[in-house]
Amino acid sequence: MSGATARPLVEVRNLTVKFAGRDETVCAVNGVSFTLMAGEVLCVIGESGSGKSVTMRALMGLLPKRRAIVEGDIRVAEHDIQALDEPRLAQLRGSLMAMIFQEPMTALDPVYTIGAQIAEAVRRHAHASRQAAMARALELLQLVKVPSPERRLKAYPHELSGGMRQRAMIAIALACQPALLLADEPTTALDATVQVQVLILLRKLQKEFGMGLIFVTHDLGVAAQIADRVAVMYAGRIVEEGSARDVLMNPRHPYTIGMLASTLHGRVRGRDIEAIPGSPPDMRALPRGCSFAPRCRFAAAACLETEPRLSQAFPSHSVACSRVGELSTPAALAVS
């Protein structure tokens, strides 16, 4: 598709999203910057309320214009998403970028067949005839490995299993071969044995099409399975970002360290898990300084004063922690 240039496919700079209500304002995203190269897989990891889904919606231009205050720069390919009007955005959604959601049952229309819904996406952007669109829909169902696709083309969403519905969603998203695919927890609602199948499929299709993929998840195992790079979000900020192996195997931000310590892979029974104490901050009234400081066992007085910026502490690995220099040796982590 586009020529091979060193320019990233997606550039987000200082994105902030606020939802203004009558009484209070929720600061959902507080200064997020990242880039994504074409053909790269970025996993955004975070707990509920960390702003990961809102960031994805901002990228698609899906946030309600009247209630969401979006600031910062969002560029996808050559388009400035913020500057586009709704008709132009609608044109780009599906052709340049597409999104798959967590719950395929609510994302699919219950009164149309799967075939009609895929064909609609094809016809919307490719201006194909009805028959050609249906033929393409069949191809797409084969591509996402839905068994007996001819029959499924005429099936309604409720007649499919969860895994098959999610495959149909992926088929719709891929209908016009977007350059960028956004996936918001697409496998969270699936069973373990089906989740692996969908992850392997997504990774394979992403490679085949050379798509950029931003994959939102709260599951570190899912990130390890699919990501080239990982960004960890906490309270609307990226606190750590780097190659998947660096971040997951050698985490540097106390939050990421805590998250990994509380995973239960191969954990000894009968001993307490090192859980991160407390709960995430109230997004209506964020604390001054580092948002994680109140829960952080390494927090110093300075952490409560100034907000640390995401800085490149190691090659291909950035951390937003003012104590990252002191904490970078395993010994320091063990002693504290």
Partner: protein, 381 residues
């Protein structure tokens, strides 16, 4: 049912011989008697359809399940959605009636003319659900939600309130801050703590945790799991821990029961099941766990497709349609689980686990495909 008859039989029942072992005064049968005995439990949900909306089939949600839960243990129940885990929980607590089968709590059959009434059962057996929000009354302050059970069971208002405050403290919520809050003023993790406190309000002997930590964020999940461990030893509880997350179950369970399409396919001590599963489905479930190291990516899915429709399950072994080792005998005959009353037995309902089944791999162990799971501490070191 026949209410008058039941009241009569209750009154006429001779006083129970109460055996008080050292430790728990509520214990009756001694440590060898299972706290819960479930036998041949069956629940079919009718499906109607067609022109006249007639009954056209049954969803066989729970289809002949037998198991025992021993005193003081945690039995983990794993399986994919639709395998009947939650239906099983609801049947055991008596929230829905079963089609057939029996539930025996510490020697006392539940229901029937001289069995435990549901009211008596629920004093001893409580359940915590996944959706922490839907299971709390939005119009009641949490202390009243917790005190509700004791009030129904005849405790005075002041005493019930005192119990509620004690329990809030136990689950890590300061009563002075939280007692008079409403559910919408709490986070998901806090709400689940309130649900756990409420389940403990009648000082039950057994708690069924139906995906109780699944909706929580990972850092909160770890806190609640630690809490559950503490409460278990403090209140001398027995748990049935239902989850789809194999890592959580491995951490918390002493024994594990694996379900597939309404039946038990494997049961045994947790470590035995995780290190040497006997059923190919358990093996596939374990192989579907994702490692945290990107180097250990799964390249080929251990299973293809989704579970079959529980209305018309496959003949013989229900797993055979997705099983790599399926043979003719698997279609012809359903494999049996065997002696499930033995607390130490590691059993699998698979023809390969039965030497006499006629399966070509009968008696052989499953080929190992275990990926190394190294703990984070070892990796950081």
């Amino acid at each position: 049912m026949k209410n008058g008859l039941r009241a009569f039989s209750l009154a006429a029942r001779p006083a129970r011989p109460v055996v008080v072992p050292p430790g728990d005064p509520r214990d009756r049968g001694g440590p060898a008697q299972p706290l819960l005995l479930v036998e041949s439990l069956r629940k079919y949900f009718p499906v109607s359809g067609g022109v006249f909306n007639r009954r056209i089939g049954d969803v066989k949600a729970v289809d002949g399940i037998s198991f025992a839960v021993f005193k003081g243990e945690t039995l983990g129940v794993v399986g994919e959605s639709g395998c009947g885990k939650s239906t099983l929980a609801r049947l055991v607590v008596g929230l829905i009636p079963s089609n057939s089968g029996s539930v025996v709590f510490d020697g006392d059959p539940v229901g029937g003319s001289n069995g435990l009434t549901l009211r008596e059962l629920r004093r001893n057996l409580q359940i915590v659900f996944q959706d922490s929000d839907a299971s709390l009354n939005p119009r009641l302050p949490v202390e009243e939600s917790i005190a509700y059970g004791p009030r129904v069971h005849g405790v005075t208002r002041a005493a019930a309130k005192q119990t509620a405050h004690d329990l809030l403290r136990r689950v890590g919520l300061r009563p002075d801050l939280f007692a008079s809050r409403y559910p919408h003023e709490l986070s998901g993790g806090q709400k689940q703590r309130v649900n756990i406190a409420r389940a403990l309000a009648l000082s039950p002997r057994m708690l069924i945790l139906d995906e109780a930590v699944s909706a929580l964020d990972k850092s909160i999940e770890a806190q609640v799991l630690n809490l559950l461990r503490y409460l278990k030893s403090h209140f001398n509880l027995t748990y049935i821990f239902i989850s789809h997350d194999l890592n959580v179950v491995h951490y918390i369970a002493d024994r594990v029961m694996v379900m597939y399409l309404g039946q038990v396919v494997e049961i045994g001590p947790a470590d035995a099941i995780y290190s040497e599963p006997k059923h190919p489905y358990t093996r596939a479930l374990l192989d579907s766990r994702l490692a945290v190291d990107p180097i250990d990516r799964i390249e080929a899915a251990p299973l293809t497709g989704d579970p079959p429709n529980p209305i018309t399950p496959p003949s013989g072994c229900r797993f055979r349609t997705r099983c790599a080792f399926a043979e003719d005998v698997c279609t012809a005959k359903a494999p049996a689980l065997g002696g499930w009353r033995d607390p130490a037995a590691h059993l699998a309902a698979c023809h390969m686990a039965d030497r006499q089944s006629g399966h070509s791999r009968a008696g052989q162990t499953l080929p190992a495909t275990e990926r190394p799971l190294v703990s984070i501490e070892a990796r950081l070191a």
